[in-house]
């Protein structure tokens, strides 16, 4: 049913380049083409360009959770960036929720000189979450990360690397938007904490539109119901996960 669709991707193409000359051409194009829409037909590849994603189409209904599988450089992270509106496609359309939570490099955008609380606000600003949401969830964030309130005034740079990851992870899963995206499953803390994270991811996948990109098929088997397989930027499978994994593992 059309109304249930929460994410829809149609004929998605994204170019990439591998030389400075093409980069210069792109930059020049930005300054001269005053248009926010992409082209009416699939653009031709020019010298120095290649397709990093080619003709990707799929849709997710409410309640679906999607695993994107593929080897290195297959275009998984790029597809996530396009789905979360952090990049524009060269051709094709993407209809996706406007706000998303992306679980990837956890400490991106953090400032070591600020306190933990200030950094939570800063990260919240970067991922479009209000201060109010942070404050409402502060107890849950601290509880999951296994800290008490005293840590909020600690300068970020004096935390251990593990503590930083725990706090940011806890912040993102507790203050999440309805569209939740994970780029690779990172191992955080000791085994006990890592298991807690896995349980949390399962819970998040159940109560939000969930997309995860990974190279490890066994990790997503129990989290997702849909699977998209990418191979060098081309979609080789989209459908039910059991069926897809049979192809992928064989």
């Amino acid at each position: 049913m059309m109304n249930d669709k929460i994410l829809e991707v149609k004929n998605l193409y994204k170019k990439h380049y591998n030389d400075d000359e093409t980069k210069y051409k792109y930059a020049k194009n930005i300054l001269t083409t005053f248009s926010t829409t992409n082209e009416n037909e699939v653009p031709m590849l020019e010298k120095g360009e290649y397709w990093s994603l080619e003709d990707i189409s799929f849709s997710l209904n409410k309640g679906d959770s999607l695993a994107i599988l593929g080897d290195r450089s297959s275009g998984k992270s790029l597809l996530l960036k396009l789905l979360t509106n952090r990049l524009y496609p060269d051709y094709g359309t993407i209809i996706s929720p406007s706000n998303s939570t992306v679980l990837e490099e956890l400490r991106l955008g953090i400032n070591g000189h600020l306190s933990v609380l200030e950094n939570l606000y800063l990260k919240a600003a970067l991922v479009s979450i209000s201060k109010k949401t942070v404050l409402n969830n502060i107890d849950n964030i601290l509880k999951f990360a296994e800290f008490d309130r005293d840590v909020l005034n600690t300068q970020w740079k004096y935390l251990t690397s593990d503590s930083k990851n725990k706090i940011m992870y806890s912040f993102l899963v507790n203050c999440k938007h309805d569209f939740f995206v994970v780029d690779g499953l990172t191992h955080i803390g000791d085994t006990e904490f890592a298991n807690k994270c896995k349980d949390m991811i399962v819970q998040v996948s159940e109560d939000s539109t969930f997309v995860i990109a990974t190279r490890h098929s066994r990790k997503v088997k129990h989290i997702c119901n849909k699977l998209l397989i990418l191979d060098k930027g081309k979609m080789t499978f989209f459908g039910e996960i059991e069926e897809g994994l049979k192809n992928y593992d064989s």
Partner: protein, 263 residues
């Protein structure tokens, strides 16, 4: 118009985030310094003292209609505000590369929050300027109401130049380097430290140099009042500023997402 409304909406939607970014930058400014906010005043004091010294020694010509200390203090404060806005904006893709590339934060939010520090500096310095003005016997006057209005157009102009050159700089770094050199040169032809002759052809051409117009008129209003202003020149300069501002907004509106592919 569509671009202006869109960018305005982005600012309104993200006002809370702008405050967070500004607080981050203010805190960063004070990190690992003992003198903290006093560094807002110290940097302009260096050229100020040099130029005041040179004027006192008659090495550079002085303005006949204003005490030269006052002339230089106001000139440098305004010129520095303009160049700081331009430099901050030109470097936006460098200073906020991570945020632009990895998050969905609108470019206009980052530009405004980065420049908030410059406004903060300006307020701090303007308070000092007012003290200097009053020291020279100038009383507070109603005429000064025009100054904030001129500041709006001056800010529009500076932001626009910054945005245009930030995008140009994506092509070649020469644009930013050239602009930096140009701003050093403009210091000497914009009536910042000594009056630029107005009665020859070069002077007439230079009266349309927006840096010269803004510096000269704001200083003139401070000391002489609104009668000092040539409204034709101010009108044309303001119009140029508005046109550039609309162009810069369109540039941001159409290119802010595309730009991620070249960062």
């Amino acid at each position: 118009m569509k671009a202006l409304i869109y960018l305005y909406k982005q600012l309104v939607d993200n006002y809370e985030h702008i405050i967070t970014f500004v607080k981050r930058d203010i805190k960063n400014m004070r990190v690992d310094t003992k003198l903290g906010l006093f560094w807002v005043i110290f940097p302009p004091l260096v050229p100020l003292s040099v130029f005041i010294g040179l004027a006192a020694l008659n090495v550079i010509s002085k303005s006949a209609d204003m005490p030269f200390v006052l002339y230089i203090v106001i000139g440098i404060t305004i010129y520095r505000f303009m160049t700081q806005i331009i430099t901050t904006t030109v470097n936006i893709f460098k200073s906020e590369r991570g945020a632009i590339k990895n998050f969905n934060i609108p470019l206009v939010v980052l530009i405004l929050s980065k420049n908030a520090i410059t406004f903060f500096h300006l307020i701090f310095r303007l308070i000092l300027v007012i003290f200097v003005v009053m020291y020279y016997g100038v009383e507070l006057r109603l005429d000064w109401f025009l100054i904030p209005i001129i500041f709006i157009f001056m800010t529009m102009f500076s932001l626009s130049i910054g945005v245009i050159f930030a995008f140009k700089n994506l092509l070649y770094k020469d644009y930013a380097k050239g602009l930096n050199l140009m701003m050093v040169y403009l210091l000497f032809v914009s009536s910042v430290i000594f009056p630029f002759p107005k009665d020859n052809l070069l002077g007439i051409i230079n009266s349309f140099n927006p840096f010269n117009t803004y510096v000269d008129f704001i200083r003139g209003i401070f000391y002489h009042g609104i009668n000092y202003v040539n409204y034709t020149v101010l009108g044309i300069t303001s119009l140029i500023s508005v046109v550039l501002f609309v162009y810069a907004c369109n540039l941001i509106y159409h290119a802010q997402y595309k730009v991620k592919s070249v960062l």
